[in-house]
Every structure is written in structure tokens, then in C-alpha cells.
Symmetry: C2
Subunit: 116 residues, 2 copies
Amino acid sequence: MNLSHLNTTFAALADPTRRAILARLASGEASVSELAAPFAMSLPAVSKHLKVLERAGLITRGRAAQWRPCRLEAAPLKDAAEWLEEYRRFWEESFDRLEDYLHELQEKEKTDGRNS
Amino acid sequence: MNLSHLNTTFAALADPTRRAILARLASGEASVSELAAPFAMSLPAVSKHLKVLERAGLITRGRAAQWRPCRLEAAPLKDAAEWLEEYRRFWEESFDRLEDYLHELQEKEKTDGRNS
């Protein structure tokens, strides 16, 4: 796992517009103006987000002079997912505890029902 | 999945000190001075990182006046992992392509070996 890129990967993902751009690119390559269309945003503002994504290695741009399509590059997401995976046992534990608690409540209700 | 917390979660994870603090808390509760010990950092600097983690819901602090132990809260990490999971097919695809390419190279080498 390459840890040195996690700073820029997570920073790039901390913005909802950038996450929406990646979601759009998941369905195929797109030009800057296609990417800008769903947002109430100027082209330069979208271009700024694309630069952040490009520096983070999350997208690449085509070489064609006029239409430089953006393409999703998922490798940095793999490293981020692997980092998070180390913590899975913690969130699963907390859901187990919640489930135990709900089960206890249900049992208590049954007992209370029988006793009343 | 609660998407509104993803901004603060990913922003909190974009710093190596904050990720190291979470890794330390994965092995159990710790006080601020225990957390500060491995870093060449002042207590106020570490406290600042803890505030970011606390606001992101990634840690909670105990109530004891003197020793307020920090504790890992993994629920926001689950949402971040689920967001990333949507992109798994893309990083698996790129590894498949790499594997295919390496396999092709090996086959080519074998053929070249037989022909020389």
C-alpha cells in the first residue's frame, strides 16, 4: 500500500463537487463542459477541481488539443479503501453492540408483556 | 449511508498525524499526552488535531476532569469505506488489465524463446 498519497487522496475526496465529478466519470469519459453541466459553477471553477483531482492521480486528461476528455483513475481509491479496511472490526463491533442492545430491549418488552 | 459527513470525514483523514492518532486509538483509549508522545509536537498542536477528529465524529473524549481519554469512533469510517466501495470495480479492472498485459508479455517471451 502506498501511504504517501493518502493525504492528497483524502483531501481531494473532502469536497462534494469533486466526489460528484468522480461519480460522473464512473459512467465514462467526459469533457470539462460535460462535467460542468450539472453544477451551478463556472468552467474555471470546475477546472480548478479537476486540477486537484489530477494532482491526486484520481483522473487523467486526454491529449487531444480541443477535447481533452477526463478519465477516472481508481488506483488511489484502492489505497484509501485499504487504509479504511483496517478499522472495519471497530465499526462492525459498534453495530454488533447496537444489535445486542436492540435484542435486549426486545427480550425485555416480551418479558414485560408477559408480566403485565 | 450518511453522505453529509463525508466532507469532514475525508478532510480529517487527509492529515498523517490525525491518521496516526486514529491508529494509536485502535489499540485502546489514550490521554492527550499519551497521544502526543510519539510526535515532535506541542500539546496544543495535538489538541488542535484532536478537535478536528472530534468534530468529524471520529473520536470522543471522556468526561473525567483531569484525564479525558480519547476513544476511536469508527462509524464515520464505515460511510467513507462504503463510498469508496462503489469504485472497487474500477481498481479491480485496472489490476486485471495489468495482469492480462503481464500474461501477454510472458506468452510472447515463450514464443520468442521457441523461435530463436
